[in-house]
């Protein structure tokens, strides 16, 4: 297929359709609404399920139901809507269901604004509501990655029977870029064994997140934790560039990551030994590679569109080996390459000073 000029939200929607999306339930919210709008036409034309729910709470619980029924299902929203879904997400987490959630993040807290942000990092990586759980979190930095990660999201969700969250910021959702869509995949042929399809002749299938006996609940949690261990071992994804023989490592994801690239290139043109690592999975976080790189850089700079959230993960991965500094803009402000460049220069100067000393 050839490249087309595609808007992020529409691209995600169409990619989901091509990944075999069977049902979508959602509620309008800027800057994600085009995704819902696109599917309101496309899915209905394909005779698949589209339903605009009465709220995000209802939407996520419809997703829960459809997932129980064994369908490939998705919802999308933006920060306040994702907050409202927390209880539903936790139920889904407690029921080991493969669902895909798209969060096109916007400025907060509160009603905030509708501009790009990465303020939901903690909310999406640390849990899905209450309880010990981590969704797999994919963070695209371009429309093409938004497409690729949408496909990947469904694959991972089904591979692990695990929730996958596509966490993009409003800029990814709103911008147009040339990108290529994959061919149409067929719908799922057969419902999974565990799905609720009516008991027929088999013993009833039950899907529930209640485990009144503590030990049973703990066993479920252990199973989840073991699965997360496997996921951490196998699914860390990132992109890196100019990471050979560097003094300063810049880490940024999504929009902040791609803007950082421009800044890094500028810095390299000025002779600074700087490289960029762009996490593509926020959970599992690419700890291993960052920890490796930390062995031979002098310092790390984290760039985010928030007050410093991934910062914790980088600091944990770096483990105190080298200093980690931070540059962030908040509340819907998208940093410009020159600001990041300045932050790089500052961090780099400190780094070199330390070398000189």
């Amino acid at each position: 297929m050839a490249k087309e000029m595609l808007k992020g939200n529409n691209a995600i929607a169409e990619a989901a359709v091509r990944a075999g999306l069977e049902a979508y339930f959602g509620y309008p919210i800027t800057p994600q609404t085009e995704l819902l709008e696109y599917l309101s036409k496309r899915l209905v034309e394909l005779n698949r399920v589209f339903l605009q729910a009465e709220s995000e709470v209802a939407a996520i619980n419809m997703v829960y139901g459809a997932a129980c029924a064994g369908a490939r299902v998705m919802t999308s929203s933006s920060s306040p809507g994702i907050s409202l879904m927390q209880e539903g997400l936790s139920y889904i987490a407690g029921s080991e269901l493969p669902v895909v959630i798209v969060d096109i993040m916007r400025g907060g807290p509160g009603l905030g604004n509708i501009l790009p942000s990465q303020g939901d990092y903690f909310q999406v990586t640390r849990s899905a509501g209450h309880g010990d759980f981590h969704p797999i979190v994919l963070a695209p930095s371009s429309v093409q990655e938004a497409i690729d990660f949408t496909i990947l999201a469904f694959e991972l969700a089904e591979k692990y029977r695990h929730m996958v969250l596509l966490a993009a910021d409003g800029q990814i959702g709103q911008m147009m870029e040339p990108a290529e869509l994959p061919p149409m995949r067929p719908l799922m042929e057969k419902r999974p064994d565990w799905a609720l399809t009516g008991a027929g002749d088999r013993p009833p299938n039950i899907i529930s997140s209640i485990f009144l006996v503590a030990e049973e609940m703990e066993n479920y949690n252990k199973m989840i934790q073991n699965k997360l261990k496997v996921i951490r071992a196998n699914e860390q994804r990132w992109d890196e560039i100019y990471t050979e023989d560097i003094d300063l490592l810049v880490v940024g994801y999504g929009t902040a990551g791609r803007i950082a690239l421009t800044a890094v290139e500028e810095a390299r043109e000025e002779g600074m030994k700087v490289g960029l690592l762009r996490p593509q999975t926020l959970y599992p976080f690419p700890d291993d590679r960052i920890s490796e790189l930390a062995d031979y850089v002098d310092s790390v700079l984290v760039v985010e569109m928030n007050a410093g959230q991934m910062l914790d993960d980088v600091r944990l991965a770096v483990g105190g080996q080298v200093p980690v500094s931070f540059f962030g803009r908040m509340g819907g402000v998208v940093p410009m390459p020159d600001e990041i460049y300045n932050a790089i220069k500052e961090a780099y100067t400190k780094t070199t000073a330390h070398k000189a000393a």
Binding site: M5, P31, N113, I114, Q174, M175, M176, P178, M336, P337
Partner: protein, 183 residues
């Protein structure tokens, strides 16, 4: 090579579509391309704007603080963006709508009475294409024929009968700009 463009005007003046056309043409020309709307506070009844970036390398930021080229369609847009254009840059002013003119000497300014010209052509709706055409006369990154192809490919179905007038608008804008530049 990296070229950045701002389109800004009232909602309804077709600035979004003009930006998208440039982006389509950029992609077809084989360039890396981004288009991003402002969908911020100005949403309701106010000013709309969008950015287009064309480059031969991957584009970091689709948003640009200091665009190289700005096409401004109304007063508020002029006031906001005139000071922001990069030194050496290009400012295209819809002088039918904007009374002020730029005092900057470090940029090229083209005052194009786009709305009046459009009126002459027979439809106020093509002022955006006149502005685009004028831009092409001063910034050669996109060839007029590529822009026209983009127009042909992306004009909304219910406006295909307008294609001829659209082409004419692009040409008129170019011609006018050439004259202005010649002065």
């Amino acid at each position: 090579m990296i070229e950045s463009f701002l389109f800004s005007g009232f909602g309804g003046q077709g600035v979004m579509f003009a930006g998208q056309l440039l982006a389509y043409a950029g992609m077809d020309t084989g360039l890396e391309t981004t288009w991003i709307p402002s969908y911020g506070p100005e949403m309701r009844g106010g000013t709309a704007h969008c950015f287009v970036v064309l480059s031969d390398k991957p584009i970091g930021s689709p948003l640009v603080r200091n665009p190289k080229t700005a096409l401004v369609f109304n007063n508020p847009s002029f006031e906001k963006y005139d000071p922001l254009i990069k030194t050496g840059g290009l400012l295209i002013v819809n002088s039918s709508m904007i009374v002020q003119s730029s005092n900057r000497t470090d940029i090229t300014t083209l005052n194009i009475p786009a709305t009046s010209l459009a009126d002459e052509l027979g439809s106020l709706r093509v002022a955006n294409l006149i502005m685009l055409g004028a831009m092409l006369a001063a910034n050669h990154i996109i060839r007029p024929e590529d822009l026209k192809q983009a127009l042909a490919d992306h004009i909304p179905a219910h406006h295909t009968d307008m294609l001829g007038m659209n082409y004419a608008a692009v040409d008129l804008g170019m011609e006018h700009a050439v004259q202005v530049l010649a002065r």
